[in-house]
């Protein structure tokens, strides 16, 4: 066969040029990631010691102290959020896959739109809904704000995971006379388990890193909470308050808190991806 195609050098060059341009774009996008990881690890590691995990935050500007109250607050707020957000989200996702139709189409579309609504809007919404009526900032209201954000995220990922379950398994279960509710729990959700759990874990990681919805709900605090009706600190609020202050010792504490937050958030992301080796659609 002698029909070897000879490319003109102009075409060759323009191909090489654009192909390398796209590759350069990819490298350029990675530079900030590397810089952020490097700075957080280097600056954050020097802040870490035992006291960092056993003491509460000092007044801004003072050295010493730790982030125990921030860790406690973040865990409590995300736990409250999950208590609301996960069951409602999973059941909503189940409805979308069990009863496809016009209503489901619009609910799914609205859920996608809601994930794009700025989180600070969710913050003032929950302020008006709960903080203004109870007349106090609280960990509870912070949890509700993050829970409101979790519902559409979990609903979409659950819907996507349930779509992948084969119709035959479902029909088999129904043909055996198993009720729809039991089929959903023991057959459908059970087969889609890894996808559903991945979606929940990613939603937890996402809201764990949120600051804006907590500014006017959980507010932040220098102390450990005594109840969920108290204002609460969080890792993100601590990073914001200490990072924007003019003092070096406060910056060091902010970097330390950022390192802990990044380890949790990126750790969760990496863990679920390695564990399930499955991408959940619509997670971003």
């Amino acid at each position: 066969m002698n029909c070897v195609l000879r490319l003109s050098s102009k075409r060759k060059i323009s191909n090489a040029l654009y192909v390398s341009l796209a590759s350069i774009c990819f490298v350029v996008a990675l530079v900030p990631l590397i810089s952020i990881l490097y700075q957080t690890i280097v600056q954050g590691a020097s802040a870490l010691n035992l006291a960092f995990f056993t003491q509460v935050t000092p007044p801004i500007g003072q050295a010493g102290g730790g982030i125990l109250n921030a860790i406690e607050g973040s865990v409590a707020i995300v736990a409250i959020a999950s208590l609301f957000g996960v069951p409602i989200g999973v059941l909503c996702g189940a409805y979308l896959s069990e009863y496809p139709g016009k209503f489901s189409y619009y609910v799914r579309l609205l859920a996608e739109v809601l994930t794009g609504v700025p989180s600070i809007v969710t913050g003032i919404f929950v302020y008006e809904l709960i903080v203004a009526t109870q007349h106090r900032f609280s960990a509870f209201s912070g949890g509700v704000a993050l829970g409101v954000m979790m519902v559409p995220i979990v609903a979409i990922s659950t819907h996507e995971s349930l779509k992948l379950v084969s119709q035959a398994i479902k029909e088999g279960a129904l043909a055996l006379g198993i009720s729809r509710a039991k089929t959903l729990v023991y057959v459908l959700l059970s087969s889609a388990r890894s996808g559903v759990i991945t979606g929940i874990a990613l939603a937890v990681a996402r809201v764990m890193g949120e600051t804006a919805p907590l500014l006017f709900t959980a507010l932040g605090s220098q102390f450990l909470m005594t109840s969920i009706n108290d204002p609460a600190a969080s890792l993100t609020l601590t990073i914001f308050d200490f990072g924007t202050s003019p003092y070096d010792s406060s910056h060091s504490l902010a970097w330390g808190a950022a390192l802990v937050l990044l380890l949790i958030v990126l750790g969760l992301n990496i863990l679920v991806r390695v564990a399930t080796r499955q991408r959940v659609k619509g997670e971003v």
Partner: protein, 323 residues
């Protein structure tokens, strides 16, 4: 025996009703949240709407507590201006890079590194906004102040956008950090729409002897054009609503100035900064709610448009695949 059968069926039917009821309740939560959000934001904005009406959108003064003790004078124009400028900078920088990343991941990268390349960009998306803000405040601002802004000023200082003191704290840095933050989102949506271009298009083009780039330019990009525009709209919606990182690097001054080096503010940064400092000033409080309502409306419309277009495209691609 014959008695129990129908009653069991009835009880099962009742259970099934309960099951449907619970699922419907959960499904209704999504529209319910949307409507409640709109209602609470609108309710909160009433004092400001009554005081300013439409002039709120065109007034450039922001005087919450006038020195003579009169009514506050508040206009959203400085924050709208800041949002428009920072978002434009972000899109100008992020759209070409996102497209490059998406093409690299979908069309160009060797098969072996595709999955890892998607993975690292997803890590970029997972970094919390406040960590971007901390990095922006303590690392990016000094870098912009000492390296980028002086170079821009010496070479392009005749343009009004590159005049004034180079402080690092301002609209340019905010735009750059927004660009970094929306690249992962923009590129992942673009990857989705590029993947929806039928394989046959590419194969036909390669069969005619086209190079990789010629295939992308003549077969892939024209097909994905609508989807790419939708991706840009979605990325714009993200950039407009981004709060923490921008609040930490923009300097927060209510001012309209052509220079990108000067501090300014955006709609979300005003809300984040001033919401807890209102203390009994009803009109001021209402104005912040009205800003929230404007933000909600912009983000809602952009996301709806982008999502509807992309849903149409991917459904169409799926149908062609099956056909």
């Amino acid at each position: 025996m014959q008695e129990t059968q129908p009653s069991r069926a009835r009880s099962r039917a009742r259970h099934s009703d309960l099951f449907l009821f619970v699922l419907v309740l959960a499904a209704i939560s999504v529209p319910l949240i949307t409507v409640l959000m709109l209602y609470e934001l609108a309710k909160g904005s009433i004092p400001s709407v009554e005081a300013f009406g439409l002039s709120f959108l065109f007034n450039s003064d922001w005087i919450p507590n006038p020195p003579n003790g009169g009514q506050p004078i508040l206009g959203a124009l400085p924050s709208i201006y800041g949002s428009v400028v920072t978002t434009s900078i972000a899109l100008l920088l992020a759209v070409p890079v996102s497209l490059g990343v998406a093409l690299f991941q979908n069309e160009l990268a060797p098969r072996r590194i595709r999955t890892p390349s998607v993975f690292v960009i997803e890590m970029l998306a997972a970094v919390p906004s406040v960590v971007y803000g901390l990095w922006g405040l303590l690392n990016l601002i000094p870098f912009m102040r000492d390296n980028v802004e002086p170079i821009l000023q010496t070479n392009l200082g005749f343009l009004p956008i590159f005049t004034g003191p180079t402080m690092g704290l301002g609209m340019l840095t905010a735009g750059v950090i927004l660009a970094i933050m929306i690249i992962p989102y923009g590129s992942s949506v673009m990857r989705e729409v590029i993947a929806a271009v039928p394989r046959s298009q590419r194969e036909a083009c390669f069969a005619l002897g086209a190079t990789k780039w010629e295939t992308i330019r003549t077969a892939v990009l024209p097909f994905a054009r609508t989807g790419i525009v939708a991706a840009v709209v979605l990325a714009m919606g993200r950039a407009i609503g981004e709060t923490m990182a921008v609040t930490m690097v923009i300097g927060n001054v209510a001012r309209i100035s052509p220079s990108l080096f000067l501090p300014a503010e955006t709609i979300p940064s005003v809300i984040a900064n001033e919401f807890t400092e209102v203390a009994g000033n009803d009109i001021y409080f209402g104005a912040l709610f009205e800003l929230g309502l404007i933000l909600f409306a912009i983000a809602f419309v952009m996301n709806l448009l982008g999502r509807v277009v992309i849903a149409r495209l991917t459904v169409k691609a799926g149908r062609e695949l099956r056909a």
